[in-house]
């Protein structure tokens, strides 16, 4: 039976690459490998090196010497524990909001849009044609406490009348959600669009109501898109600093803002580098746990 699965058949059937073909493949890979080496591998080692440096004795700002001072990491964690927690809280919240908004949207485009499908897809991407910073600044206007959006919501009693939105965590999470929504919608759309409509019909034929079919058939089959979308939203959102800087206040600073200020304003390169590595490590662990749990490898 195992012989019938494509995976076990294909490798035998693939023609063996001759020496010449192999050389061509390697030749084609060189530009990519060079790029990765120069712009990823080398910098990451430089960054790792920087993260364990300590100030040189000269007292000049920006001068550090390598002392393999691993305590930098511990200092960074203990000083900015709250910022890490806040970053992940905001980014997880924004990711969930993106999923809640993006899934119905992607579903609509994939199954119900008909001829409007391509137009709607363009509209999803359209915001990218305007500057990221400008769009985020626009949200300042939208979420101004005396602006018409907030006033209208208050008038409708959808939000409490004494709620401050301007420069609040709400504004930051709203900004992140808005900015990363397309990264959620596009992978969701592409995996929903690939679902054989007959599977959904079969769900209805086998006594599933629309909601049951969504829960038992459509959603599980769109898991690759859910995983891709949440990762594409969560990872950049956790390192984001623009939204917190433009829409928040001093009490909404995220880890990205700390790295930015350590690096550019305080000129404390080792701490900035250590923070970057810690962020990277936490994201890596969370992502591995998440992907294991979601178990996408079972889906073909």
């Amino acid at each position: 039976m195992a012989a019938l699965t494509p995976a076990s058949v294909e490798p035998d059937e693939l023609p063996r690459a001759s020496g010449r073909q192999l050389r061509t493949v390697l030749l084609l890979l060189i530009p990519g490998l060079l790029w990765l080496g120069v712009f990823f591998v080398v910098p990451i080692f430089t960054l790792a090196g920087t993260s364990t440096q300590t100030p040189s004795g000269s007292g000049l700002p920006g001068e550090f010497v390598q002392t393999f001072h691993l305590a930098n990491y511990w200092d960074a964690i203990s000083a900015y524990r709250g910022h890490f927690a806040r970053s992940f809280f905001y980014s997880i919240l924004a990711t969930l909001l993106c999923l809640a908004i993006g899934y119905p949207l992607a579903y609509l485009i994939a199954f119900r849009a008909g001829r409007l499908r391509n137009l709607l897809l363009v509209l999803v991407v359209a915001p990218f044609f305007t500057s990221f910073v400008l769009r985020t600044l626009a949200w300042r206007q939208i979420l101004a406490d005396d602006g018409w959006v907030v006033s209208a919501l208050k008038w409708l009693h959808l939000i409490p009348s004494d709620l401050a939105v301007t420069a609040s965590p709400i504004a930051v999470v709203a900004g992140i959600t808005y900015n990363f929504l397309p990264f959620m919608v596009l992978p969701l759309y592409s995996s929903l669009e690939r679902i054989d409509p007959r599977l959904i019909e079969a769900g209805g034929d086998l006594y599933g109501t629309s909601f049951t079919v969504l829960r038992k058939v459509t959603f599980p089959l769109s898991m690759p898109g859910v995983v891709a979308g949440t990762l594409l939203t969560f990872i950049p959102a956790s390192g984001d600093y623009v939204n917190a800087a433009l829409l928040g206040n001093t009490r909404t600073t995220m880890i990205g803002n700390v790295v930015e200020s350590r690096f550019f304003r305080v000129v404390d390169y080792p701490t900035a580098a250590a923070l970057s590595f810690i962020l990277m490590a936490i994201i890596l662990v969370l992502v591995i746990l998440y992907v294991r749990r979601a178990g996408t490898e079972e889906l073909v």
Binding site: M1, A2, L4, T5, D196, R198, L199, E201, A202, G203, G204, D205, L206, Y207, G208, T209, T212, K216, V217, P220, L221, M223, E298, L299, V300
Partner: protein, 373 residues
Amino acid sequence: MTASRSDLRLTGLTKRFSGFTAVDGLDLTISQGEFFALLGPSGCGKTTTLRMIAGLEEPTGGSIHLGDLDVTEKKPYQRPVNTVFQNYALFPHLSVFENVAFGLRRRGVKDVKKQALEALDLVELGHLAQRRPAQLSGGQQQRIALARAVVNRPQVLLLDEPLGALDLKLRRQMQIELKRIQTEVGITFVHVTHDQEEAMTMADRVAVMNHGKIEQLGAPAELYEAPGTTFVANFLGQSNLVAVTRSGTDGQYTMVDVGGQKLRIRTDRCSSEGELLLGVRPEKIRLHSAADPVPSGLNQLTGGVVLDASYLGVSTQYLVRMPWGQNLTVFAQNLGIGERFSDGSAVQLAWEPDHSFGLAGDAGAGVESTLED
């Protein structure tokens, strides 16, 4: 649902898509427990009909009844009807067992496990319950799709080209299997196919569809022996169709004339007015050498010349050129006792008058295509 019968009744069923009518005022009653086949070329409206019965397509007009229950407006999940989809549509994220249990769980059945395993045993795949559909062969997936539908004991089981994706040998095997299962569970089967052999092998009755309408409905033998239209005559097996003129009657036979030769068709198998085409199946014709006498009482056509003889093992297929320029096909069983004819032999054709049928000669499309064959 009545306690007695729950026939499937389609009344004036119509489906129009923008600009064309897929199903055109279909009236059809399928008896409970019947194995019914909808046969026709692609685009004839058979699949649309099936999808309307399943509730996956909304009719433009007409109604669908199951016994006394009007299901026309009901959602798919509200109908006691299940479908075996073309290409099976098995849920790839669920095990074989969960696929089969899907309908049972949705209906809140008590002993899901027992019933699902029974259904798997019915298709003899109980040992594969924990596999994923992707790990199964095409034939196995087909059986799982069948088990997944049958397990719900629907009043009507719809099969949409269920064997289309299987190779010939497996298809033959599954035809027998399907028939066995249908007899065993006693559910009404409505089977959509474009494969005439498949329809004839399994179905109790066959409806031949064309352009959204039923051309002819009947038992397979009935359709084959006495096709009512040129379309049926050509779609169901092969036919020789010869344009003839009426020349009178003789008892229960209508006398006809082609190129000065007299032939007979039973009047009850003959279209009563207008242009007439005489039809005869290739295997009903016997070839005789032009010099030999032909037994009396048979329809006889002289002056044929063998254009081509193809040896097919079981039979030999002859193409015979007639004096009026038409090529007729003759299948001769290779019994090893009759004479074999080679290209260029002068022959005559003979067959039982009862094997002829007379069709209304819309002396156009349908006929021309047979001449080319």
